[in-house]
Symmetry: C4
Subunit: 249 residues, 4 copies
């Protein structure tokens, strides 16, 4: 297997909108993508395999197995089709990322899509963010204004966006599509459900989809409980080394 390939069922979509929710900072993208897929009952219609992904196969609970992949799901909404891209991983190399992200954009363009939202985390230091802000970058004024009206903050961040969350937006621009990266502010958590929740609140309004947030709230509550226990436990033992804690990077 020498090149990135997307296998897909030929389906007709009305006004497809792509939301990219892949693993990354604070797992914000993955949490948002998986949550939307589960809550909406979206159906898989395409799978992307790549020799640039790590060389592993996933052991499934069924006793079966599958290659590492990124997967496209769809859900018909009132006036549009929501396309979700979720997956096990992102490619670790530049060459892999350039190849895969351009293919993602071209595939979506081939489906007739014009609007993309990628989801990411915006790293804001080492403390848990109680009320995360939502930051954005966009390809065009129309997308930017629409997100600004829903509370997304533009021009307040700097630096660079790693991986698909950023590169899909850049390739969208090159392909004359509209796109934005929506980033939940996150601290030092590996899995930050609070940041994901903030992004989901925005997405609900922007895409016009009604999604229950109870399952995200459960992960959020569990994390905050663990953080409090950790804080309590660490207080009397000042000067010690870092405590190993699965939720914290």
């Amino acid at each position: 297997m020498k090149s990135t390939k997307i296998y897909y069922k030929k389906l007709k979509f009305k006004n497809p909108i792509l939301v990219v929710g892949l693993p990354g900072i604070g797992s914000v993208g993955a949490l948002v993508g998986e949550h939307l897929k589960n809550e909406l009952g979206a159906k898989r219609f395409a799978t992307l395999y790549s020799p640039h992904f790590i060389h592993q196969t996933i052991m499934l609970k069924s006793g079966y197995t599958r290659l590492i992949s990124n997967r496209f799901y769809y859900k018909e909404l009132k006036s549009s089709t929501l396309i979700l891209l979720i997956g096990d991983t992102q490619a670790p190399t530049p060459e892999g990322q350039y190849d895969i992200n351009e293919k993602i954009v071209r595939f979506f363009k081939h489906l007739g899509g014009k609007q993309i939202y990628t989801i990411g985390g915006y790293s804001a230091g080492n403390h848990y963010i109680q009320t995360p802000r939502v930051f954005g970058i966009a390809t065009d004024k129309q997308t930017k204004d629409a997100l600004s009206q829903k509370g997304v903050l533009f021009g307040q961040t700097n630096g660079a966006i790693w991986g698909s969350a950023g590169m899909v937006v850049s390739f969208a621009k090159k392909n004359k599509l509209h796109a934005a990266c929506i980033m939940g502010e996150t601290g030092a958590l590996e899995i930050d459900a609070n940041a994901a929740r903030a992004v989901l609140e925005v997405l609900k309004k922007v895409i016009g989809v009604n999604v229950n947030l109870d399952n995200i709230d459960k992960i959020k509550a569990e994390t905050e409980k663990l953080l409090k226990e950790l804080e309590a436990a660490s207080k009397p033992q000042e000067g010690q080394g870092a405590t190993s804690f699965p939720y914290i990077r």
Copy 2:
């Protein structure tokens, strides 16, 4: 040399069954593959070279040398031909693994094969496993059921399988072949003959081949003796760092 190549003698095989025993966790795959080759007197008929393998040549005791390779052996059984794939190494990069493992599957399909078993170790913590379980993942119900009947446990593992042991199974599925990965439970050993023995017991029944296990038992006994000596030596010195021991990772 720009691409992976398999050089082979054109031979006719009846109902070929492939067992992949390459280096990996606990050396379980390599131990099983080498043991079957030696005990059965299997003969080499094909060699795989790849620019994705490390850039070394092997110094042979004869004073000659050869490139790093993976090698195919065959042994005619009653109603089938056992094909063994053993080798010096696996490719360290994703691109190499995707390329090589797909080529392995296609080559075996080209030989008329339909059933593949890859052998691996399933890492289960840091203690020596006295009575290792054998875990499996499969491409299909038929393979899964056949292995279950011989004591292989399905659906009790999670995570991902690294390298050929997993990827050959996934590429087999893509090529409509039947395949399973059979994993011996292993602890922190680099060479775990006990885990390999457990897999060999299963393979004997599944493939219907009678193989003496004395040589595996010798390695097993030697390892256990060394572990006991190590345990005895380490007892009075609590609080010390790890002891360097060649059999332990």
Copy 3:
């Protein structure tokens, strides 16, 4: 995106001279390139994208975004056109560097250019260099003599030049163009405006362009103030570990 590409406006230039000012040792190249662009009001006419650059997109203050790139600017001078190459990064791999640097040289040759100056830092130990020397290497006697007359020292350095600063000169030679690498002597600073200033003084004479150096002097003054504060602060605390200081590598 599988290969390095340069997108450009077709413009006619008279006697184009290329100055390459990319990130590297002491940021000397980048400081020189950015300073010339800003002071001269040079205009962008070409952009180089490559799958060998890191997989990031830049967050702009405008709320928009762009791919990592190298960018060509031009400024008409009296008897020549100054072409500036600046950028976010250099490729981290040999394969990327060989590909990109050869493409840079060929693109410039295609524009009708014959003379190239690359800018770099020459690492000279761990102390701040108060009066940095300017070292050079060249493809030909004519270029070497012209630079020598302006105070550039040849044959006093050894070792190897990393990245574009060196490789563009080598590819220029292969393509029968004249080229030199001009290196400002630098110590352990990440951003050494003093070294950049020394190179700018040379370039002004060599290219015959009048550039105000006040903005470089500001960075230089700021750095020297910080270094003095650091020196003062570190004196009473002998034996302590390294102080974290953004300007020092």
Copy 4:
């Protein structure tokens, strides 16, 4: 520059014999190659460039520069032509090594060559070897016997040979050429002139070339003097960490 290329003058050689002396363990190959080139006054006729080499250019004392390369020299002997391959570096990746070493062998075959000797160091622990043995591996009985008669030891080593020293021999075999790797036994030195001297003594007899060894003896004497000083200096300070010493790895 996308692929490895060899630029060469078309010359006719009588019975060409290739000696590969590239950087590696103990710098044995490089010392032997450079020494033969200098003592024999061999002339360059071919240069190999590769995008797999590190992305650097060499600063020459003349003030000029050149790309990293491997270079072929020739010297007419009585009944044969000695071809020497020396160079700045070897490729750091498997893909680069497979590509370059196969190209070296094919180029030499294209020149009409049939016999290759690669030179390397055989790492034998952490102590300086006073009287280094010379080990060999070969492609064929004829080459092996000829070297054995000159004192080269076969079948006494195991493991693997890294890089060109080993891979050129393997690719020679694949191309039906005769080849051997001749390795000087070396300890923990970066530059082991004593090991190189031992190999040169063998080569003189095997190739039938008379080479003065005074310059190698000078490096050897200098190294041994430094080692004695180091030993003397380190004696009273038992229990201390490793001393930084440029000749020792």
